[in-house]
């Protein structure tokens, strides 16, 4: 897509990318905890031009009942993009891409959440992409983790996510839309910072084994940057106006 991009320079001679960033610099990130009135927990994230809202309900009764588990609560995730979130208007019905991303995010969160104390219930995570610009699944996962914490769902760790990739033969941090389309590799990573576990990992593109290692390392650095902002978001909502540690 985008045959107009023949002029696009992904990395110039000064090491500056097409949107002015350096190779190890993520886009502007802002995370806010809370904000929705009816959800049990919520969060909003801006990651570059991505704007994503997440709402969480639960633990709550499961309908239909046959989906519930007698030993533990279950996690359900729905990732969905609004029709106006992308360049060409998108049909509101769930696409295969959205269904896959829903599953991948669910499996990135499951290692972190602890629902054994809530049998026969479900925790529902609803992700709505209001505006998309490359890297939505990482932004969505990061916001979902904050929304779950906001709802008081027990978690052994937060999950922070960021993508690394390759463009102009260089490993870069946080791939934007143009780099995703015209670049050489895109690797979204979801990571639990205190437990040091990778829970989301996908790859699109071609990497040598050395590049692969560097890409994962770079991505984890990005995840740690996101984690600090998740912490900041929760601190601002819960610990302001009082002593913090």
């Amino acid at each position: 897509m985008g045959g107009r991009d023949t002029e696009l320079v992904l990395l110039d001679e000064n090491g500056i990318r097409c949107d002015g960033r350096k190779v190890d610099e993520p886009r502007r990130i802002m995370i806010k905890a809370g904000g929705l009135k009816n959800a049990d927990g919520s969060a909003y994230i801006e990651f570059g031009d991505n704007k994503i809202l997440v709402g969480v309900f639960g633990p709550r009764d499961v309908h239909p009942k046959h989906m519930s588990n007698t030993d533990t609560g279950i996690l359900r995730v729905r990732y969905h993009m609004e029709p106006f979130s992308v360049t060409e208007r998108k049909n509101p019905a769930p696409s295969r891409r959205e269904i896959e991303i829903s599953k991948v995010i669910k499996e990135a969160l499951e290692p972190a959440i602890m629902l054994d104390k809530f049998p026969r219930t479900a925790v529902d995570v609803y992700i709505e992409v209001l505006q998309a610009d490359g890297g939505t699944r990482c932004a969505a996962l990061s916001a979902a983790s904050v929304a779950l914490a906001d709802a008081g769902i027990p978690m052994r760790d937060m999950v922070a996510a960021c993508a690394a990739g390759k463009a102009a033969d260089t490993i870069i941090l946080d791939v934007n839309n143009e780099e995703d389309q015209a670049g050489q590799a895109d690797m979204p990573i979801g990571y639990m910072p205190s437990t040091d576990k990778i829970t989301l990992l996908q790859l699109d593109g071609v990497l040598t084994p050395e590049e692969f290692k560097k890409c994962v390392e770079t991505g984890i650095k990005g995840c740690k940057i996101v984690y600090e902002l998740q912490k900041k978001a929760l601190t601002e909502k819960y610990f302001a106006n009082g002593d913090s540690k």
Binding site: A149, G152, R156, K245
Partner: protein
């Protein structure tokens, strides 16, 4: 905030060492890790985190405010602001001689009714069992329902009931606090009712603020509509 208490989020290490993990913490190797947003407390031999958010988890003997949402011919189901629905058997209200044929449940309680109830039994294998068979329990006929976060209830009650007494005395309101975060307020005077509601909302919003008690007292003593 002294050294034994600090703010934590999920994944934060509260401390290391030979402590027994209590509420909202887990043991990982020799690290005690918080599983929720809250305030950690370290005692001589145990560690826990007091959560600042989350749903109400039923505890036996807790007083709760519930809303009837449905009934069968044998029991009512109550919304008690928890992950689970409260179960109120017909015998609790009609007595041992209850007969599904003769006694109609909706004659006593119907959908939408509010009740003050107690958690009679709860374990994770079944929905919490609820009772309204005491003198101070039963259908609530009047008053305003206010919903606060269940984690703020201890603050609303205060040390030995100090906060709630302050509010009741300053406004002449009668306040019933459910451990599940639902609170019923009734008051003869509309100003008293408004002030009481405002005070309760203040506690919900500012529970973690150090001089909350002073702020609430100040608001209660101020004259007129604020």
């Amino acid at each position: 905030m002294d050294n034994k208490r600090k703010y934590v989020i999920p994944g934060d290490i509260v401390t290391t060492g030979p402590y027994r993990p209590e509420q909202n913490v887990i043991l990982d190797g020799n690290k005690i890790i918080s599983t929720t947003i809250g305030i950690s407390e370290i005692y001589d031999d145990s560690v826990k985190v007091i959560p600042l958010t989350g749903k109400y988890i039923p505890k036996i003997n807790d007083l709760v405010i519930g809303k009837v949402v449905s009934h069968t011919s044998l029991s009512w189901e109550l919304d008690i602001n928890s992950c689970y629905v409260g179960f109120l058997p017909a015998q609790d209200v009609f007595g041992r001689d209850f007969s599904a044929h003769a006694d109609e449940l909706s004659s006593k309680l119907k959908s939408g009714d509010l009740v003050a109830a107690r958690i009679a039994n709860f374990d994770r294998t079944r929905d919490p069992l609820v009772t309204i068979a005491d003198r101070d329990l039963g259908k609530i006929d009047s008053g305003d329902l206010i919903k606060i976060s269940p984690s703020k209830v201890p603050r609303l009650i205060g040390k030995k009931g100090s906060m709630i007494q302050t509010i009741e005395m300053a406004t002449n309101a009668a306040i019933t606090i459910g451990q599940n975060g639902w609170v019923v307020v009734s008051c003869e005077s509309p100003e008293g009712l408004l002030k009481a509601k405002k005070a309760i909302q203040m506690v919900d919003e500012k529970a973690h603020v150090a001089n909350l008690t002073d702020q609430v007292k100040e608001m209660l003593e101020s004259k007129g509509e604020s």
